[in-house]
Every structure is written in C-alpha cells, then in structure tokens.
C-alpha cells in the first residue's frame, strides 16, 4: 500500500536550492513519512542538509548523468525513487526543472497532477491542491485521488524549512541509466547578471521598476537602490516590451515568478500579470504616485508619492 510523501529536491552547484526547503515544509505539513530524493552529481552535502530539515528518509541519486538537468535522466531517477519509496504523493518544486519533470512523471505513472499549488491539504483520502488560474486573480481547488497523486508547489508559497535538526537516514539510490539514451545534451549555462550579481530566482531582495520611471535612463535609481540593498534588479512587462530592460528581468505571468524576502515595486501600478509573479514575496514595498494603483493592495508598506524624490531619499537614508 503506497504511503507517505516523496519530494523531488533540487540542487545548484552541490547545494540545496531554497525551493527544496519549501518542498520539505509543504510535505511535512501534509503527511508522514516524508522521503526526499536528492538527484545530482556531487550532492552529498545537499543530502546531509535536507536530512536535517525534518524528513524521515533521504534517497541520494548521485551520478554523472545527473550533473546538469535533462528531462530523461532526471525522470529516470525520479521513477527509480518512486519505485523505491512507494509514496502516495509526489511533490515537485515549481522551478523550471520541477515543472518540466512533473507532467512527464505523472504521465508515466498515470497519476493525476496539479501544478503550482499555493496550498495543500488532505480531505479524507484526497489531496486538495489550491492553485491560481486565469492570470492569478482567482484560485481553484484541485482534488486529486488515487493510489499515487502528484503536485508541484508554487515558488514562495511555503516557508523554507530550517536545517540542523536530527538527521534522517541517508541511502544511496542506484539508478540504471544504461537503457536511457542521451537524447538531449547540455552544452552549458550562461548565467544572467541581473544587477548586483544576484539572479532573480535566488535573490533575497528585488527592486523592480516600471513605467512610472518615465525613461530607460531613470532605471539608474532602481539600480542604485538595489545595489545599496545587495539585491537584484527586475522590471515590469511594460518596460521590457518598451525595450528598456532585457526580458530576463521581467516579473509576471510571461516572465519570472519570484518570492524574495523583500520586493520593492517602483513606479509599477500592479497589473494582474505582474502581481502573479511576485505576490508570494514575504514583504512588499510599493512606491507609486497613484493612490489607487492596485499594487498598494498587495503592499505591506506603501508610499504614495513622487518616486523621483522618494527613491533617491531611500537610497541616501539606507546608506547613512
């Protein structure tokens, strides 16, 4: 009889991704026992970290084929882990890799799947996954039932579990890749310098600018504040479409979804398609001239005022 939860964690350069600790929280709050799969190459220390985060068991699939993400190799590892752990629920991170793998695995196991859950609960034998749809203004409860059900969790929807607790058992998971041809080969990753050196996905502080900045040169105000806070620079769709900023800085439905500790929206009105990409942030600060701007509904702290006065003043006061 399948029981418990398998979480598919992710690493970056041998360290656990923050999204993996969010997965631990989502799983531990739902049912026990929780088994964590750690797939990758050279991931022993990531395995040790997740072992102390509250899970009951860690399966480490450490193999050269898992050195960088490819669907086929990682799906093979997840398949092996499901066979080893026989879980009732498999949870994936809502990262690009997690969202790539989850549907493939769900089809392989003929399991129902909900993407990007911001809430999870049990209702009898069913798993209810709450997820935003239709641009994020509304949510639906997806009811998943059966021997094996699956979900991916939304970035930032769950707190990160802390490491340093009593360690769980760590076991090596043997994965046979011999019959898995390398149909897609990775040639490299060009890291994106998103200002201050921090990439948006991992940044604890993000300073985002919108059309209220009036012209591309005024993004210097955003960059100065981001640099003062050691954060990354982001942009709304309007300014990316206008060619002021590169697409990789875009937040929202057609851009990145982020959930930093602090998100500062400058001159961004807060259109739905922007807000779905950042509403999971822990603290949201909005600076905008228009008191009716929708961004103020999300803001934990808002200043209605002229950003050309407020932002330089903020950078100055933080520097002093």
């Amino acid at each position: 009889m399948p029981s418990g939860i398998l979480i598919v964690t992710e690493t970056l350069e041998g360290a656990l991704r923050p999204a993996s600790l969010e997965l631990v929280t989502a799983a531990v709050g739902l049912a026990q026992p929780v088994t964590a799969l750690v797939p990758g190459a050279g991931v022993a220390s990531a395995a040790q970290d997740v072992a102390t985060a509250g899970v009951a068991r860690v399966l480490v699939a450490d193999a050269d084929r898992l050195n960088s993400f490819t669907t086929d190799a990682f799906a093979t590892a997840v398949e092996a882990a499901i066979k080893a752990a026989d879980p009732a629920v498999v949870l994936f991170a809502g990262t690009t890799s997690g969202r790539d793998l989850a549907p493939r695995i769900a089809a392989r196991f003929n399991a129902p799947l909900a993407a990007n859950a911001v809430g999870l609960r049990l209702d009898g034998a069913a798993l209810i996954a709450t997820r935003p749809v239709l641009g994020g203004r509304v949510q639906t409860d997806v009811r998943l039932e059966g021997q094996l059900v699956m979900a991916s969790i939304g970035p930032g929807a769950f707190e990160r579990a802390s490491v340093g607790g009593a360690p769980a058992t760590i076991e090596a998971l043997d994965v046979d890749f011999s019959s898995i041809p390398e149909r897609v080969r990775v040639t490299g990753v060009a890291t994106v310098d998103a200002g201050g050196g921090a990439t948006l996905a991992n940044a604890e502080v993000i300073v985002a600018g919108g059309r209220g900045l009036k012209e591309p040169g005024n993004f210097a105000l955003v960059e100065a504040l981001a640099s003062q806070l050691g954060g990354a620079v982001a942009a709304s769709r309007a300014v990316v479409d206008a060619g002021w900023r590169p697409h990789q800085e875009q937040i929202g439905q057609t851009g990145k979804t982020v959930a930093p500790k602090l998100y500062i929206a400058i001159g961004i009105s807060g259109a739905v398609q922007h807000n779905v990409g950042m509403q999971g942030s822990d603290h949201i600060v909005a600076i905008n001239r228009d008191p009716d701007a929708p961004i103020f509904k999300l803001a934990s702290f808002g200043i209605v005022g002229d950003l050309f006065e407020v932002v330089p003043e903020l950078t100055k006061q933080l520097g002093g």
Binding site: S68, T96, L113, V184, V186, L298, E313
Partner: protein, 253 residues
C-alpha cells in the same frame, strides 16, 4: 534540412477581458476567444524554421466548434494545414486526458518537430506538451527561448532560474516555447485570404479520454488579507524615514 512540423495550439478566453465579480468572487470571462499566447509563439517558431529550411507546418487543436478559429488564424499566419479534433468536453479533461487526445491525433504522422506553448494563458499548468512527449516516447526541450539549426541537430536556449541553458538535440523532438523566443506575426490580408483555401481536417475522436482521479472547483477570488501601511501626503524624507524604520523592524536591512 526541411522540417515536417506539428504545432499544438489551444483556444483560451482573452485574459485581458477577464473581470472578477466583487460580490461573488467569481471570474467573469469575456466572449472573446483567442489563441493562447505561448502557442502563437510556437506557431511563429515553426513558420520561421519552415521559411529558413523548407518543410511543412500542420497545426492541431482539440476543442469545440469555436476552436477552429485558432487553426484558421495559424493558417493565416502561414501554416500549411490544420487538424481540428472535435471535442465539446475539452474543458472537463485534465491535462493527461487532453494529452492522450492530442497524442492519438498525431501518432500516425511522421514529423520531425512537435511544437507547443510552454503553458496556456488560462489554466497555466504547463503539462500538456510534456505529457504528449511522454505518451509519444519523445524527448522534450522546455522553456525554449532560442532555436538554431546546427547541421543535423538543433541548438536550443532554455530559460532557467540560473540563466540560459544551452542544449543540443536531434529530431524527432517535442519543443515547448516560452515568452521571449519570438514576436508572433499578425496574419496579413493576403495570408487571411490564402488560409481560406487551406485544408482543415475535422477529426472526430473514437475515444475521448476522461479525467481520472482529478476534479476541480469553480475558480474564486481568494479573500484579501492585506493590512499594509500606506503613507500618503507626507514629505519624501519623512515617509522614507518611516519606511526605513519599518525595514529595520522587520530585519530587512
């Protein structure tokens, strides 16, 4: 190297026209139906490959009678032929059932590339394309923001949290297109006229797969929990001083 390309497209409500009823919290969809934006990017990518290297582009959709419009639009953009898998109950299928329906529809074709949008504008699951790939036993490349033909292989740029991942793959292959790959063209008048003469095969599926083990509630607006501090009508220096205090209290600086 000419490419035989299949593109999966979906008709969705126009997201710009969606309103939320304040008293009931329900989403009010407008009457306007459009091609999901990532699927339009997929059609554009297929057309660009065809224009540069030769080949044929077949567009496939599954849905009710209205869904024919997105096939027609793809043909007007430049696709060669269309297939409309008729399915009035498409809204009741989960992604796996929809993927079964679509993979059954294309299984008999010999194609080099199958394109689909990374996710749809309405339900944003991002699952159908990868599930079609699994059901057809094909490799997939997701979150694609760049495509280049390199000899017998294709080079892709993928958008990931860590930056742009470069991958190389051979056909046959499923490619899931993301925002930033291209700017889909608008159909020209000439294209619209030409599309009227292009074939659209109506396919009535023998079996419509049903959603198994999954159901969902009517979407509702979540209750608002915001209780933020809003500073108004204060000089910048004063408002900022309060913000800096708040940042310090919350240990954010």
């Amino acid at each position: 190297m000419a490419f035989s390309i299949v593109v999966l497209v979906k008709q969705t409500p126009d997201l710009n026209a969606i309103r939320v009823d304040k008293s009931t919290g329900k989403a009010l969809l407008g009457d306007q139906l459009v091609m999901s934006s990532a699927d339009a990017i997929a059609v554009e990518a297929a057309l660009q490959l065809k224009e540069a290297h030769g080949g044929e582009v077949t567009v496939v959709t599954a849905g009710p009678a209205s869904a024919r419009d997105v096939v027609q639009r793809s043909l007007a953009m430049g696709a060669d032929r269309g297939i409309h898998v008729q399915c009035d109950s498409i809204g009741e299928l989960d992604t796996l059932a929809a993927a079964r329906l679509l993979s059954d529809a294309v299984r008999g074709f010999s194609f080099d590339l199958l394109f689909a949008g990374q996710n749809s504008d309405d339900y944003e699951s991002g699952q159908v394309g990868a599930q079609v790939a699994e059901l057809l036993g094909l490799p997939q490349v997701s979150w694609v923001t760049g495509i280049e033909v390199a000899g017998d292989e294709l080079r892709f740029e993928r958008d990931t949290e860590d930056g742009k991942q470069g991958v190389v793959a051979s056909t046959p292959l499923v490619v899931l297109t993301a925002d930033g790959l291209n700017e889909p063209r608008y159909p020209s008048l000439k294209g619209i006229m030409a599309a009227k003469k292009k074939p659209i095969d109506a396919v009535v599926p023998i079996n419509v797969p049903a959603a198994a083990g999954i159901s969902w509630s009517e979407p509702l607006a979540p209750s608002k929990t915001s209780s933020g501090v809003i500073i108004q009508d204060k000089p910048a220096a004063e408002a900022v001083a309060e913000l800096v205090d708040w940042l310090k209290t919350n240990k954010l600086v």
